[in-house]
């Protein structure tokens, strides 16, 4: 188990280093002079030089890369050029919106998808199954931002139950904050839940075809006992992969939804950074998101090993 963890941690570090190199290249090397890029084509060369000095962009690419990465290791993500505040400060503010939104959507999606997928698998071929599969087929096809617009039309414009967007901040009270996040979370969760329900169903059906299910039935287990005692834990392995990927997606991929609902989240921060050519913000936030994705994948791997004893000895 310890060797397993060490190997996984090592490969996690390798991924992070590789990712940081790629991000650095895309943002600081490929566009040429980042300071000139940030100020646009008609910038005064003196201003560009001043900005370069200001942002610590002097020196060759290699030394800049090392100062960037070592800075991140000590919590220094640089200073935003547009906001004139440390990026770490910006990020922690935005995380207070994005993280709860992602967790909220993930809870909604998982709580909905797992039981629905299980019911579909257990009643395969029946009308219930066909109905569930049809709905999820639709759910996968719906772009979440369009679904969000429909929700706004229905619940904000027609029924006036929710506001159409914005975030009052957690200072306005937990419930008020939660309410503001509800429509965004639902619109994020519905397509995700559709995917997860289908995965749950097919993983469970796949598992139910295995030889050990027949062994369990030959022992005298009822179909229900077989599913709970033998199929579920094995089927959980592919399901967990998807949950892990979805959490990463929800954290990082909510860009568009945050735009629809005018939420001050991480995704919106990146988007603003890009439109305002604030490369320091973009670079650090993207790195942070990659870190989150890699971390979640790592945790999923560790959870695998907890479920599947075969993985504990393999490296």
């Amino acid at each position: 188990m310890i060797r397993f963890l060490v190997t996984r941690l090592l490969s996690l570090c390798v991924s992070l280093i590789a990712a940081s190199v790629v991000i650095f290249c895309v943002i600081e090397v490929i566009p040429g002079d980042p300071a000139a890029f940030m100020l646009g084509l008609n910038a005064n060369p003196d201003t560009v030089a001043a900005l370069r000095e200001d942002l610590g962009l002097t020196g060759d690419a290699l030394s800049r890369y090392f100062s960037w990465t070592t800075g991140m290791l000590t919590g220094d993500f640089g200073t935003s050029y547009t906001y004139r505040v440390p990026v770490s400060e910006l990020v922690s503010d935005r995380l207070l919106v994005s993280l709860p939104l992602a967790v909220y959507a993930l809870i909604l999606s998982t709580a909905l998808a797992l039981p629905v997928g299980m019911i579909a698998a257990m009643r395969r071929g029946t009308l219930t199954d066909v109905g569930i599969m049809g709905t999820t087929q639709l759910g996968i096809a719906v772009p979440n931002f369009w679904f969000a617009m429909l929700l706004v039309l229905l619940f904000a414009v027609s029924l006036r139950l929710f506001s159409a967007g914005g975030f009052p901040g957690w200072d306005a009270g937990f419930l008020a904050g939660l309410k503001a996040l509800t429509l965004p979370a639902v619109s994020l969760a519905f397509p995700q839940a559709s995917i997860l329900a289908r995965i749950t169903r097919s993983a469970l059906l796949e598992t139910l075809n295995q030889d050990y299910i027949r062994t369990a039935r030959a022992k005298g287990l009822t179909e229900r006992q077989t599913i709970v005692g033998h199929a579920l834990r094995n089927a959980l392995i592919p399901v967990m992969t998807i949950i892990g990927l979805q959490f990463a997606f929800l954290l990082a991929g909510a860009v568009i939804i945050e735009n629809v609902f005018f939420l001050p989240g991480l995704g919106r921060l990146i988007f603003q950074g890009i439109t305002q050519r604030d490369l320091v913000v973009v670079e650090s936030v993207v790195m942070l998101l990659v870190f989150a994705v890699v971390m979640v994948n790592f945790l999923v791997d560790v959870a695998y090993a907890a479920i599947d004893p075969r993985l504990r000895i393999r490296t």
Partner: protein, 273 residues
């Protein structure tokens, strides 16, 4: 074997949108570049089948040309994925366990570690928003998908005796990959291709919705939705049609993919017979 209902429905929807896009090159009810404020926000009727938008453009015509944009971007992105991913995957499988294989697989993992949409936004931001950059951004994420699936499929085929028989007949791994492996993973690629196609449609819609896809005046479904959002209180209808178009196109492709998989997978086929 009789095709399943989902295969038929999927094929019909897909062909419908493909021909819509095709016809738009030759004919649309109204020209889409032409703005006519005088006839803005017309309701659907016999003249404007689906009404007009706030610039007086015909929604039906816009949808037809928009289909062209969406499908074009998604197909080319799938093309990039297959064109680069499949040879990489086949080569990795042919040299299973080698350093090359290891590098390809780790490279795949790396691409998967990036939040796809964010990177797509990043690419279009650095290189400027355009349809071509949208294709590149979506295409890059298709490469590891196809590399992984063709490597996996090829690896299971490499253990089969007919590959050994071909080696006994003196054939090299390149020839075997082309002659024996590729035709037998074609089904897999076809099914995955329709899935990536539909994901491409969704991604293109998302990118053009935030203004990073095809640039005006070229109509695209995502852009139409973004425009509609500003008019959501006045003309909610405008937000409905492009969304429906996306849903039906993606639904059609997904049904087609599922149907093809059931139709082509001999394991499932045998069960049904």
């Amino acid at each position: 074997m009789k095709p399943t209902p989902s295969l038929i429905t999927g094929a019909i929807l897909t062909v419908f949108f493909l021909s819509l896009a095709g016809v738009s090159y030759l004919w649309t009810p109204f020209p889409v570049e032409q703005l006519d404020i005088g006839r803005k926000l017309q309701p659907p009727g016999s003249l404007f089948w689906l009404g007009t938008d706030h610039f007086g453009r015909d929604t039906a015509s816009m949808l037809m040309v928009g289909a062209r944009t969406s499908i074009g971007v998604a197909i080319l992105a799938v093309g990039i994925g297959i064109g680069i991913g499949v040879p990489l995957g086949l080569a990795a499988a042919a040299n299973h366990g080698s350093l090359f294989d290891e590098v390809i697989m780790r490279g795949n993992d790396l691409v998967f570690a990036f939040p796809a949409l964010v990177i797509a936004i990043l690419i279009t931001a650095v290189f400027g928003p355009s349809a071509v950059n949208a294709i590149l951004a979506i295409g890059i994420f298709n490469i590891p998908v196809f590399a992984r699936i063709s490597r996996g499929g090829a690896l299971s085929l490499w253990t089969l005796d007919y590959v050994l028989a071909a080696r006994v007949a003196g054939k090299r791994s390149f020839r075997i990959s082309v002659e024996h492996i590729l035709p037998n993973i074609a089904n897999l690629l076809l099914v995955q291709g329709t899935i990536q196609f539909s994901l491409g449609i969704l991604a293109e819609a998302g990118l053009s919705y935030v203004g990073l896809g095809a640039q005006p005046p070229t109509p695209s479904w995502g852009r139409m939705l973004a425009d509609a959002q500003t008019m959501i209180y006045m003309a909610p209808r405008l937000a409905v049609f492009p969304g429906l178009a996306i849903v039906l196109m993606v639904l059609g492709l997904n049904l087609l993919g599922d149907g093809l998989r059931d139709h082509l997978d001999p394991r499932i086929r045998r069960l049904r017979q």
